[in-house]
């Protein structure tokens, strides 16, 4: 099963320049990540504050940002306003007195509502130097009454999730197909993309925050470079040494853990959000509700996936990728430079995963473990479709996305991923080659 040692590569001048550029980019980003954030300290006579939190799909507490709070005196005159930050913290500075603090329900993100709407506004009495908390517990919005409408809504959500998983999973499948490596570190490529987007969009480089529309293509390029580096300095030498696939697999697990905890170390354990496109009002389309950004995400991913499909079908390198995935030895003996193809697979695969990470960050939040969670959904999708086939990955991932969302009709929302993972076990039991895989002995 081991790969034969690969012939030595010529050192390309372009590559060495590229290497320098990439190193510079990495250094700049590292500095930006380390730069301390400046906290502004305000002082006034008294303040009312709070932390607005809700449970996310995983059942974990996350802050709810961008929600407006209005403090008015008892005769109804507005005195001051405050907005919750990404961690849900808000505070309003006020002179001592008694106030009504109103949570502006219109600014709540979609799907969130107050658990006790009759306790809004809340009355607080502040004396000098006071710092009082006002609590506004949030709950899930009541599910729509009609179950057909719910099914349509969940199908749309599932399609969105599936498209993003598919984008992330194509690289996983192609890397497996061309090199035989089950790359457990592929999930961290997704997290990497999301964190890079956060760095550019929220932290900013030298104080300059880049709009998401510009940041996203940048992230794709950075991710592609990272994939190239990862292949060049880790997997290419391993292949040349003829390392076994099992030790490569154990190494990829090591990288997955290492990268994950480096990200946790730098990024912190709390979920964060991008600044752009966070507050949008959903379009009510009768059968389902859709945020404008979600439509853009779905259209974008369909375009990218179609583009990848066409590239695989028509371009030289795309055909070569499929040839290598199909039969490496045959491809090599018919004159295809297998190492070049593998390089392309790593670059495009990681770039797509990074882009998937940006899309995830846009719809949900960024979290150091997000890639690992998605990785397991990717595995489910790729196995369902047939490991090693690009179209199988696409088909399987969309099915998994739909399955995850629709399963919430039956099981509690916080356990929805369990359904997909159980599906993985069932597929292996009945049709281990996947739905689109070739029937051959996989043992």
């Amino acid at each position: 099963m081991s790969h034969r040692p690969v012939s030595k590569q010529r050192v390309n001048p372009v590559t060495s320049v590229l290497r320098t550029v990439v190193a510079a980019v990495v250094a700049v980003l590292a500095i930006a990540a380390l730069a301390p954030s400046v906290a502004s300290a305000q002082s006034d006579d008294a303040e009312v504050k709070g932390r607005l939190q809700a449970r996310d799909a995983e059942g974990e507490r996350v802050g709810v940002g961008g929600v407006e709070f209005i403090a008015s005196d008892l005769s109804g005159n507005e005195i001051a306003r405050g907005v919750s930050d990404e961690e849900g913290n808000w505070s309003i500075q006020l002179p001592p007195g008694t106030y009504d603090v109103l949570l502006n329900v219109d600014t709540l993100p979609d799907g969130r509502e107050l658990r006790n709407p009759d306790k809004n506004p809340a009355q607080v009495r502040l004396i000098e130097g006071d710092s009082k908390s006002a609590l506004f517990p949030l709950g899930e919005a009541q599910a729509s009454t009609s179950s057909e409408i719910e099914i349509v809504q969940l199908t749309v959500d599932g399609l969105k999730l599936g498209l993003i998983i598919a984008m992330c999973a194509i690289g996983l499948s192609l890397i497996y197909g061309t090199t035989g490596l089950t790359n457990f570190a592929h999930g961290e490529a997704v997290t990497f993309g999301a964190v890079m987007a956060y760095l550019l969009n929220v932290t900013g480089i030298f104080g300059l925050r880049i709009h998401l529309l510009i940041a996203a293509p940048l992230v794709i390029v950075i991710s592609g470079c990272a994939g190239w580096l990862f292949n060049r300095f880790v997997w290419f030498p391993m292949r040349r040494r003829g390392a076994s696939l099992i030790s490569a697999l154990v190494m990829s697990i090591g990288f997955s853990i290492f990268f994950r905890y480096v990200i946790l170390y730098q990024f912190g354990g709390r979920a964060k959000r991008l600044t752009d496109y966070q507050l949008q009002t959903a379009w009510d389309l009768g059968w389902f509700r859709l945020l404008p950004k979600d439509l853009v995400i779905m259209v974008l991913s369909i375009v990218v996936l179609l583009g990848v499909g066409i590239a695989l079908q028509t371009t030289r390198v795309g055909k070569a990728m499929r040839a290598v995935a199909d039969n490496r030895d045959l491809a090599e003996s018919s004159g295809i430079d297998v190492e070049r193809v593998i390089r392309w697979v790593w670059v495009t695969g990681t770039a797509l995963a990074g882009f998937g990470g940006v899309l995830f960050a846009t719809t949900e939040s960024i979290n150091w473990e997000m890639g690992f969670r998605i990785l397991l959904l990717m595995f489910a999708g790729v196995t369902l479709g047939g490991l090693g086939t690009a179209y199988g990955a696409l088909f399987g991932s969309i099915s998994v996305g739909l399955f995850v969302q629709l399963s919430t009709l039956v099981i509690p929302t916080d356990m929805k991923n369990v359904g997909a993972l159980l599906m993985l076990v069932v597929i292996l039991l009945v049709r281990p080659q996947g739905l689109l895989g070739r029937k051959e002995r996989v043992g």
Binding site: M1, S2, L34, P36, E58, G59, T182, F184, M238, A243, S244, L245, I246, S247, A248, L249, V250, M251, I253, G254, F255, S256, I257, F258, F259, R260, Y261, V262, L264, Y265, F372, R373, L376, F379, A380, T383, P412, D414, M415, N417, V418, L421, L422, L424, V425, V426, L428, L429, P432, V442, G443
Partner: protein, 330 residues
């Protein structure tokens, strides 16, 4: 810098509770990977099976401690082995890896789910299930034992742990000398050859998975008893790889390999942990480089790095032999 504390903690890592829990888990992995070539990335779930088997029996179902032992050591691990093994053991090695890691994630989601709080205690986990165990303790809870390293109850856990560990090592030694053990090694070396000699490779792999899982469950159960709690957080996916590093570091396919590996690993981990904590507390460590909360993350980075370096440069570990290495030449 409290050098006395650092030395004490390092020594405690070499022989103490963590060494026992993860030594047992690593012996189980040795059964899976070292002898049979199975890639089990979900040993943490087997550990959790032991911990939750005992704690759910006592704290949720109200059974007595002995039924808890049966549930945690036999019933839960065997069910788990069947769930993970039946679909995957006929397939290529990486499918087991995917399913076992998926099982860890499933465990995490299910154990933390508030909707099952009544059964599992969700994120807080279960407590108060080990009283019977401590009732048997011959040690005075107020006194310190073993050069002052362990207080009474800890000493009891560690003593029982040492006995269990020795028995398991002996069992593995005897099993691997038997014809049964030779079949496992034959499957690792060449499954088709073993099958052509009329051995039911699938069934042997299933047995190895179950037995290794039981060893892992013993480790997990002792961990639950030692900490007097069974929490989802103690058995997250990454916990598996502490046992993996212990195994590969010591040397897979050696009876004593995982035990030596666990001792060395926890010696090193405890040393760095306490050393870094001291540095942060004393202000040696610049704050932009590392804070108190970040110290806890360093050990996970070290585990990742250790897996990478061992797999790449020394797959046979410290005491293993290259000839008997499932990590090599496949």
């Amino acid at each position: 810098m409290d050098w006395g504390g650092i030395i004490e903690n390092t020594f405690r890592g070499l022989i103490g509770e963590q060494f026992i829990y993860f030594g047992l888990a690593a012996i189980g992995l040795n059964m899976h990977f070292g002898y049979t070539g199975l890639l089990n990335f979900g040993q943490a779930v087997f550990m959790a099976a032991g911990a939750y088997g005992l704690s759910m029996a006592v704290a949720t179902l109200g059974l007595n401690f002995w039924w808890g032992l049966v549930l945690g050591i036999v019933v839960f691990p065997l069910i788990l082995a069947a769930i993970m093994g039946v679909p995957t053991l006929r397939l290529r090695a990486d499918y087991l890896a995917i399913v076992t890691i998926a099982a860890s994630e499933m465990f995490r989601i299910i154990a933390r789910s508030p909707s099952l709080d009544r059964w599992t205690g969700s994120s807080d986990g279960l407590t108060a299930f080990a009283n019977t165990f401590y009732d048997f303790s011959p040690f005075d809870t107020q006194k310190r034992y073993f050069f002052g390293l362990f207080i009474g109850n800890q000493m009891w856990v560690v003593l029982v742990g040492w006995i269990v560990l020795s028995l398991v090592v002996l069992a593995v030694f005897l099993m691997m000398r038997s014809p049964w053990g030779r079949v496992l090694k034959a499957i690792r070396e060449d499954e088709d050859a073993a099958r052509s000699l009329g051995k039911n490779a699938y069934w042997f792999k299933m047995q190895a998975l179950a037995i290794g899982g039981v060893f892992g469950a013993l480790g997990g159960m002792l961990r639950a008893i030692g900490t007097q709690s069974a929490q989802p957080q103690s058995f997250i996916t990454d916990i598996t790889f502490f046992a993996w590093v212990a195994l590969i570091l010591g040397g897979a396919a050696k009876v004593g390999g995982p035990v030596a590996g666990a001792a060395i690993l926890y010696g090193i981990l405890n040393f760095t942990d306490v050393f870094l904590r001291n540095s942060v507390a004393d202000g040696w460590m610049p704050e932009w480089l590392m804070t108190g909360t970040q110290v806890g993350q360093v050990r996970f980075m070290m585990i990742g790095l250790a897996l990478i370096l061992l797999a790449a440069f020394r797959p046979q570990g410290l005491f293993g032999s290259k000839e008997e290495m499932a990590l090599d030449d496949r």
